[in-house]
Amino acid sequence: MKVEFEIPTLETERLRLRGLTEADLDGFASIYADAENARFIGGVVSRHECWRKIVLMIGHWHLRGWGIFALESKADGQFIGYCGPWRPDSWQHDEIAYSLAPGQSGKGLAAEAARRAIRFAYESCGWSSAVSYVDAGNEASRRVAQKNGAHRDGSATILDDEIVEVWRYPSPEQFSALFPFRGSA
């Protein structure tokens, strides 16, 4: 039985992807406190519930061997959001999830983080395909998926009855041709 896991630290041009800690609670809670922001990730939830989400995300690493990273700015260490390979029980695909703190959108950070997470999933987690789930109407999230070469591939029902759009990323071979690895970028 695997009882230990290490959450690696990855880097992109502007971001560090690392394990979540309790110090991320304020930043994490800001994502779920903002009604506009939380609209597409299950709605506004309390700080207490955010703590539970963080431990859930850490425990997911143990159960699956991979999971969600905290995103922090390389420049000043600020918490930017979270992103990573994700598969809770009702998910029908191996998914790349991403969400940014209020005020961080529009700078290409989600796409930058997701690109690194996809590469991690393909190279280090044995994934042969990857998708992102996008809530109908979440135009910003759809654009992030498209920037990383995703195309619409139907819909999926998750949780009890929530229908999401499935956006499928290029295969590992196509993906590495589209986005060749250049050092830490």
């Binding site: 309790e22 539970r52 850490i58 009702s90």
Partner: protein, 180 residues
Amino acid sequence: MTTIPVIETKRLILRGWDIGDLDSFFALYEDRQYASYVSSVETRWQAFEKLAALIGHWHMRGFGRFSVREKSTGKLIGHCGGSQIDGNREHEMNYTFHPDIAGQGYASEAVISALRYFYTKCGWVTAVSEIHPENTRSIALAKRLGAAFETTRTKDGVGYQMWRHLSSEVLEKRFSEVGA
């Protein structure tokens, strides 16, 4: 990452978890009435979330919930252990056991062993359990463990009972033969 320890008692093994435990973990909540007292788990995906959260708790606090398995069969019969979501609150002992195992002393054997571990290895000085007032099985277990009713704490309109567990010294005196 914190390694979830393994504790072996006379009849039980307390240890960590893996994804193969999900079905038997979910089955712990199949008695809906009992489940409503101890959790919000109604579906398999909620069980996954709870299981992941229990594991992540170890990472965050250095202690958490053990899986409890019957040594002779390897069967998961419940879970018990420490919980502290709000760092300003007291250490809590939580426990959930499948109704089928009642009457064999398994639950006390597990909780005493876990409590002993937290007292001796994690620096706990005291522990409480917060129990739904209608959860008679858990209240009975708290009494068998020598815990004392302390107060009632109202949450979402329910008056949860706070039970304080025996101190490390008294626990060892009273239950020295239980466990290892």
